[in-house]
Point group: C2
């Protein structure tokens, strides 16, 4: 870690993956620590968030955000401390959440930079339960999914930061929560610790049958974050007037082409028609930015009351970020993955 005190380590995207990304898509550069101009702050990264959407930013296929250019620092959400400030409203030592990317140090003109409230006991939570993943779960489930008491809500990646939050909010709203996760340990955790009514192992050979059995009254809300075989098993179980908030398709991010036929596009549209289902894709900060303070307040309340359990997995050292992203895309993490980039302490 001493190296980061005298120079800026940056993980540059140097090639685009075909299929699964690898650590070789990145290059570790050492550059001088930059100096903030007037109107800028210098930030030192403490925590870096690793999220599935990053796979999309590595590709130059059309997507909702521009790709990271080759040779540029990989993007990512961060919790940082202000090292020095030439910007009104920020002072040395402030904790902030922003988008410094995969590096030790970054300059910011304040755009997209938010000071962490003093009440936040764990700063890294601003990257998870009180940040983008928690906000995604909250808005997608409540604004699009609209679960009613007694309805059945299904979500995959049930121990990940989005899925775990979806299931727990569904329970708060009186719905049944059925999770999908990879392996018996995660499924046990979802039921015993997070309070899901059931959690099905998608690695089980009879996964679809187990899901059907766990959803005896069909599925009213399917919070879609993975796609693939989970959606295949969900589709025939959807009830009339079901709602599908669509925030991700992790299982497809590494795919290199369309699967073989038959072509089920018309089957999907026909299902949406016959069952009067609504599907809505969303990106939480773009679609719901102004709702963030309300979310922070309610989620903070639920956390303080012990109604929401949050699991974080920490990886030490910025240089482990590429491997951590590969792991997240394969579902090898257990809980919200955060990289510890630098110490809490500024000195």
């Amino acid at each position: 870690m001493s190296q980061s005190l005298s120079s800026n380590r940056q993980l540059l995207l140097t090639s685009r993956p075909h299929g699964r990304p690898s650590v070789d898509n990145f290059y570790l550069a050492n550059t001088p620590i930059p100096t903030p101009a007037q109107g800028e702050v210098l930030l030192r990264t403490v925590f870096l968030s690793i999220d599935p959407y990053m796979r999309g930013r590595m590709s130059d296929a059309e997507s909702y955000a521009a790709p990271v250019a080759l040779g540029e620092t990989m993007v990512g959400g961060t919790v940082s401390r202000v090292v020095s400030s030439n910007l009104d409203g920020f002072s040395k030592g402030d904790w902030v959440v922003g988008f410094s990317g995969w590096q030790d140090y970054a300059l910011s003109n304040g755009q997209g930079l938010v000071k962490l409230p003093a009440s936040l006991v764990e700063p890294s939570h601003a990257l998870g339960i009180l940040g983008m993943p928690g906000f995604t779960a909250y808005m997608g489930l409540l604004d699009i999914g609209k679960p009613q008491a007694g309805e059945t809500v299904v979500v995959a990646a049930a121990t990940g930061p989005v899925g775990a939050t979806v299931g727990q909010i569904a329970k708060i709203k009186g719905a049944r929560a059925v999770g999908v996760a990879g392996g018996p340990e995660k499924c046990r955790f979802a039921v015993e610790t997070l309070g899901f009514d059931a959690c099905i192992d998608h690695k089980a050979p009879d996964f679809a049958e187990q899901l059907k059995a766990a959803c005896a009254d069909g599925i009213d809300v399917y919070f879609e974050n993975v796609g693939g075989k989970v959606f295949d098993a969900v589709m025939p179980l959807l009830n009339t007037k079901a709602r599908i908030p669509l925030c991700g398709m992790v299982s497809m991010y590494n795919s290199t082409g369309l699967p073989d036929g038959p072509d089920r596009l018309s089957l999907l549209m026909g299902t949406l028609l016959k069952k009067r289902i609504s599907v809505k894709g969303f990106i939480v900060f773009d679609d719901y930015g102004p709702e963030m303070p309300g979310f922070m307040k309610e989620m903070g309340q639920w956390l303080s009351e012990g109604k929401i359990h949050y699991r974080e997995q920490r990886v030490e050292d910025l240089e482990q970020a590429p491997k951590a992203l590969c792991d997240v895309l394969e579902g090898n993490n257990f809980g919200k993955l955060v990289v510890r980039v630098g110490p809490d302490d500024l000195t």
Copy 2:
């Protein structure tokens, strides 16, 4: 027509089609005219509506409504006159809209039966612009599509009762209306008479390129009523935050299996995700029943002001109904298809 005065002609569904329906799926029966019990009215059909949804009722595949049982009278919306009444609120001679099905006479206990307002100059309009198709266009476009001034709205079957209404309401709301129809005559009618900004012939070999050229700013609302190759051409043109009201997929109704691959289900879901699109299937009477009076009032106003043009195609004689349905499913009609079953006059 004299036969209908002494007995009741009924078109019974006697076999289920595999693929395209044929007139041989129906049998013309002659039965006694029924007698209304206490609490019933006897109705004589004047007009029978022919609509694409009827194909679904001929199949026993899972759908939003139960299939017509073999040997039963085919279902359909009708405008009728009351021949005799043992039901409070209905009197001999009243004009009503209901669901008598494909027959000359029917009994009703009043459920689903609505008296036509005296202001309705053309009773058959209760089956079209002021009935289910017009209501479908109105609610789907305004409640789900939500077209904004300057946006581009695309709809297929642009000279049919739903598509024509969608395009004209889009224009009233200040949006651009781009239609899709089969053949130059329908396309010319859509532009010159209905006021569409453009209408593309889906039979043209370069249909997709023409549609793209007509939608230079992309597509903000796609009102889906046909599916198939029209949707294929629309999908890449959809803008961020596009809305897709989904009320039908006529092009798929006669298909006997899924098309060959590749499997584009994940491509569709990925498009909805990346572009934050919403899709919502709906059935107008089930989802929007209470909105009917408001629709009737506003649409009546538009009609009286000449803001909405409505084209109806009449087919003479109940016995032509099977062929008329086959034509509608092939797009061989031009305007809303209505079968004249009996005379206006009761005597």
